[in-house]
Amino acid sequence: MTFILTGVALLLLSGMLSLVGGRSRAATFLGAGGAFLACLIALPSTIRMLFNSSTESIHLPWSVPYGSFFVEVDPLSAFFLVPIFLLSALCALYGAQYLDPYSGRKPLGAHWFFFNLLVASMVMVAIARNGVLFLIAWEVMSLAPLFLILFEDEKEKVRAAGWTYLVAAHLGAVFILVFFVMLGRGAPSLDFDLLAAHGKDLPWGSGALFLLAVIGFGAKAGFIPLHVWLPEAHPAAPSHVSALMSGVMIKMGIYGMFRSLTLLGGSDPWWGYAMVGIGLTSGILGVIYALSQHDLKRLLAYHSVENIGIIALGMGVGILGEAFGNPALFALGFGGALFHVFNHALFKGLLFLGAGSVLHTAGTVEMDRLGGLMKPMPVTGTCFLVGAAAISGLPPLNGFASEFLIYLGALGGGLQGSALLFTPLVMTVAGLALIGGLATACFTKAFGVIFLGSPRVEGAGIHEAGLLMRVPMLILAALCAITGLAAPLMLHVLGPVVGALGKGHGENAALTGLMWAEGPLFMISLGSIGLGVLLIALVTARRMILQNREVSDAPTWGCGYVMPTGRMQYTSSSFAQPLTGLFRQILRISEDVRMPKDIFPSGASFSSHPGDAFRELVFEPVFSGVARFFSGFRWLQHGRVQLYVLYIAVTLMAILAWKLR
């Protein structure tokens, strides 16, 4: 606990110091260095607390009404703190080099100030045990990214993305505020331990509170249809910020969901149905939208939606297990969801950093302007490939292990349960399979179009990322593989975390449930290691055979074309067309087609623009309606000071008279 709070203090201090640095390199050195150091200080003790499953707390009085400085690290908090510290440290390292070209031109001090503030506020959200403290940390965590997103504020699109983010973050915060106010009605303070006791006997039932939590925290996590800010904000932000936001910040929404489940007492089956429904919608629609994207960072943002959907599926399975009194289902569902939170932080962080390396050197992440990057950027390409395989849920990487837990829970519970339990679980299994397949297709497209083939646009100067950018990617790629192979051991870490969530079931029941998965996971790890050894042997054999022979590179056979160009290759949209064609109605792809005419056509063109049904059919009409309604009140804002004072005077007098009536 001491180390964690020291880390927070160091983050804030170095953030403020970096402000002094202004636009110079010193700002980066102070800000990123401070963040890296703070995370390095806090990480070991957090990991130790997670492994010991110990709980430490500090409770100090605070003059704010209903508030107290009550912080606690329990296994659940520690489990979320580990990826925060890990990814923040790596992103700070990466960002230091990523932002280097901007030094002298952009206010780097402000950037690192808000970066460190974001990390510190995420830590505070994870350890706060008082409603007021939590809301303050949450609000800081919602505001700090805005200034990070607006780094390139001279671009119109970036400013628009900032607006979208701000509105989404605040709408979510409103629901969380109402959640705490309703939960704390009649309670002496908003300390979580008091609220947990209080939550069990609420007059209106905890169902309404559950819905508030789903909307409030879901807006942060990116449940469909509350996801609209993700595909706008992630491409606009600098890449290490995207990695941090997608890797851990949106997970704080998931943390909020888990924490509110512990505050709300027993759960109803319909909560589980709701979460499974949300998970299926977010997961399947997220990956379908990702398929149709042309911009790599937008594609990754939609994949965050998809993975949040998988996490929601796990939570739904866990809640169903709790409601139907099935400890194995409970443990595997929640365990899978939590494990996926950790895994997604690793591979999504890795993928965004990889996208950042491409953007850094090529200046664009439009997939149709890239190609053949594997040759100039072998490290980035290989790391991206590892991340792509992990996010597609392929063994032996970590994405597979967590999805496997959910599969196993759903299959095991579904076989013996009643129809009420059977139906959602079978849908979960089917949904997960569909998501996994589509994700694999999507990343085949992304990796193939960007890294394989030959360059689509002739551009010189594409080079491998610098050392500070390569090292974080390599570490994350290695962690993806290690976590996947060591998944049976991870189950022991997950046990206490899941045990803390269940009110009916203790830690032992959770562990017993999770141990179901140990055998299969162990076999898969063993098999993977065997296959790996075989692969290495084959590569070695190939090298030995070719040792004394002549090896030459030649272009791929071009089917007899005399003048092939890079632009003749499959584009990202043509590669995905067979699949996107199936989902035309949802995707709302708009196409501009100029067909070739006559016998000797003079010109033709084709371009397609993926849309978002929720943005275009739900949010834009609603918000423009709201804007129209309120622009009706513009006449009130006429600029006459005298009348403004009159409004105030009349209001005050009316209130006074009403009070004295």
Binding site: R634, Q637, H638, G639, V641, Q642, V645, A649, L660
Partner: protein, 230 residues
């Protein structure tokens, strides 16, 4: 003592009417200055025992500021900016006086209904102190709302502050000073800033008509006329 306080209060009410009915800017500044001195006397009358040294110092300081420094600052602002020596009302003088009567009635009603902490009124037995303070506040607000010039708004703030001062004096006999000090500082800054701002606005726009500040608003109608403020 109670009679003396009530006499002061009646004088205060009369000055407010004079402010509402007067068309001369210089006259209004003088009346406000007189009002400042008038209420500055209050602490000497409301205290139960002998006057404390710090009370006296505060009272004299207030009188000096409101009676001499502020008027001097405002006269200087008028001189520097060459404005017309007229109040330029949105609401006519006789209508203003009618509002004054209504506000006085309202103040009396308010004072009768307001629940005050024990001992707030009983100490002196003066019955007019509460209504007079409310009336002064309302008159100040009215001056802000119903007069065009920026300088008359400063004047309105001053009058309003006088009302708050009297209200404070009636609530806490001995120590209204804590509140008073804060408010006085605000008003001082306001007068000072306004003087500077008015000067610069005048230099830029050749007018210190506050209604023309509408040019500075952040929203303009996109279609049609650019502004309706002139």
């Amino acid at each position: 003592m109670a009679n003396l306080i009530d006499t002061v209060m009646i004088l205060l009410i009369l000055t407010n009417f004079a402010l509402l009915g007067s068309s001369l800017l210089g006259m209004c500044i003088n009346i406000a200055a007189f009002q400042g001195i008038l209420i500055g006397v209050l602490p000497f009358l409301t205290g139960s025992g002998p006057v404390l040294a710090e009370t006296a110092a505060m009272a004299i300081g207030t009188m000096a500021l409101k009676g001499f420094v502020f008027p001097w600052l405002m006269f200087r602002a008028i001189r520097d900016t060459n404005v017309k020596r007229e109040m330029e009302p949105f609401v006519g003088y006789s209508t203003s006086l009618m509002f004054g009567v209504a506000a006085l009635v309202g103040s009396l009603w308010l004072a009768g209904h307001l629940v005050l902490p024990a001992g707030a009124r009983g100490l002196t037995g003066a019955s007019l102190i509460m209504p007079a303070s409310f009336f002064t506040i309302m008159a100040g607000l009215f001056l802000i709302i119903a007069r065009k010039k920026a300088i008359t708004q400063v004047l309105g703030y001053l009058v309003m502050e006088n009302g708050i001062y009297v209200f404070g004096a009636s609530i806490v006999m001995e120590r209204p000073w804590l509140v008073e000090l804060g408010v006085l500082l605000d008003v001082f800054v306001a007068v000072f800033t306004m003087g500077i701002v008015i000067f610069y606005i005048n230099r830029e726009f050749d007018s210190i008509d506050a209604s023309r500040l509408a040019h500075l608003r952040d929203w303009r109608r996109t279609r049609g006329a650019s502004s309706t403020g002139v």
